[in-house]
Subunit: 334 residues, 2 copies
């Protein structure tokens, strides 16, 4: 028996905004798994903003993607054949072999998932890296403490929606910014106290200050640019900024917008700290358990935007940068 | 008996670079000190970059100076008359009644100094706020740890010169940047491993990377602008930036230069933290004791640039922004 898996390869490195010409669909034949290997059929894959950085040929915290090779990224799949006693057909696994329909891999390269009553794709979103990112950024990096007023940019995105809800569960006043009426309505639905539709706000800084006249204590940064300026101006003394991402700047070809308000970090004694979730994977088991409880008790929910089929994975990726995803952007593969 | 004290008042708020027209010299008569008061003759006063911010009418961590009133700032003086048993004529005191030749004040508003074998003006420099700023920024804010490579901007200034020497005493590789050959020579003299004369360096980022091919772990920020960009690019993962000041930006009338490289804080997981020394005054006694030991054993020295007479205090202040001070900028009053 052999299977054919379709996959998305990097055809050329994007300059600025990626487009269809930077990617190609290819097919590979999967032989039966070798000794110690498993064969996995992917059910879902994720597209994430950080992948844009890996498409550039620059040294970063993850090595760049190689032209002519399949892209990589998070995926959840089902074991279809196994030559390892720890895994059996039907097991749900999480891997970094996304951007393809299936694969063979050493059993050690896949991680068996305990479903905790959650749907499989949740492990690419609320119960996966985006959820842990929200948790780590808020609790550990920003060191959330009682009474903090929390400002979240990209609040209706994969990470932002979880940040908002964890902050609400912990009793905080939350200001969430997102682009467009649909996202704004969703944020109200999940209990965000002050929703800013930044596309409709003539002045973002004024909008934040109107929502928090005494200023903000925590800023969860997903967007950069004007959002960061607003947060710097609205920050109270000793505010903490968890720098998770700056999606507005990822396709910049001129080095990105300059941040003018950073001098305020001195006088207000602000702390700005960047982080990447893979440095905090040790917190995953505790987080997933806590999250499953919040989901079971109806305290936490999420939204997904789904594209269907591996051939549409690049489109799903493009939509991230156009802000066309509400909640987690996913590709359903089978 | 009464004395006349000359003082410098704010005549108008500077726009951009301050000039002589923003200040005026005035005289006030000092009556004998009232009950519970002391009369102090100032020996030295300090001018510091942070005072520029107080000349603007904006809310900050210290209230703005008022037009028509004497400026304030650090001063060291000698008690000439006292109606408080805790202070007697001849005592050396530290106060915030700078920018004037003498004053009367409640005894509680002056702080008696233990000389520790140091000259009086040291308490406005190495053994005062600038020294404590260096110590706090390096040890507490940047959390200096073994093996760190330290980059200091404004390295030949009041704070920078102490940062460099404390880092050297603690065994670190130090890169110091300053403007001009005289400052560069001084930095070599105090043991800075890699001296960058930024006025002579065609590309500051390349100069830092040449000095530290594997990157920097700590950046002590006094300057801002291009220096901050260089530090962001040269930073190793998990580097810590102690944001003490950004003197290159204090007179900007357009919001200051934009910082383009801040996105690197995410992928490299950098921590940028602003601080002001007055939040850390509790560390002063321990610091002064440690410093006095370093001075006594010849491990730490400093330079001063001195203007003479209260009438020249504004000039001393202007020189800070032109980079015309080597080490601590002081005004000798008597």
């Amino acid at each position: 028996m052999s299977l054919v898996s379709r996959e998305i390869r990097l055809k050329s490195r994007p300059v600025g905004m990626p487009n269809a010409g930077n990617f190609e669909l290819a097919s590979v034949e999967l032989p039966p798994p070798g000794p110690g290997e498993v064969q996995v059929r992917n059910l879902w894959m994720t597209v994430d903003p950080y992948m844009r950085g890996r498409m550039n040929d620059v040294k970063s915290y993850v090595p760049p993607f190689q032209v002519g090779e399949a892209l990589q990224g998070g995926a959840v799949g089902e074991v279809v054949a196994s030559n390892d006693p720890a895994l059996k057909p039907g097991d749900l696994v999480s891997t970094m072999f996304g951007w393809r329909e299936g694969f063979n891999a050493p059993a050690g390269a896949v991680q068996k998932l305990e479903p905790h009553g959650l749907p499989p794709q949740a492990f690419l979103g609320a119960a996966g890296m985006p959820g842990l990112t929200a948790y780590v950024g808020l609790i550990k990096v920003a060191a959330l403490k009682e009474g903090d007023v929390v400002f979240v940019s990209g609040a209706a995105g994969a990470v932002g929606q979880i940040v908002c809800q964890i902050a609400k569960i912990k009793g905080h006043t939350v200001i969430g910014s997102a682009g467009g009426a649909e996202k704004a309505a969703y944020l109200k639905e999940i209990g965000v106290d002050h929703v800013i539709d930044y596309k409709a706000a003539p002045n973002l800084t004024e909008a934040v200050l109107k929502a928090a006249p005494d200023g903000i204590d925590v800023y969860f940064e997903n967007v950069g640019g004007e959002h960061l300026e607003a947060a710097l101006t609205a920050a109270r003394p000793f505010a903490r900024f968890a720098l998770c991402g700056m999606i507005s700047q990822y396709n910049a070809t001129d080095g990105g917008a300059g941040v003018h308000g950073l001098m305020q970090a001195v006088g207000k004694q602000l702390r700005l700290e960047g982080f990447i979730v893979s440095s905090h994977f040790d917190m995953m088991p505790a987080f997933v358990k806590e999250l499953a409880g919040w989901v079971a008790s109806g305290k936490l929910t999420w939204r997904e935007t789904v594209e269907h089929g591996i051939e549409n994975a690049p489109n799903a990726f493009f939509k991230l940068f156009k802000g066309e995803n509400l909640g987690k952007m996913l590709v359903k593969l089978s």
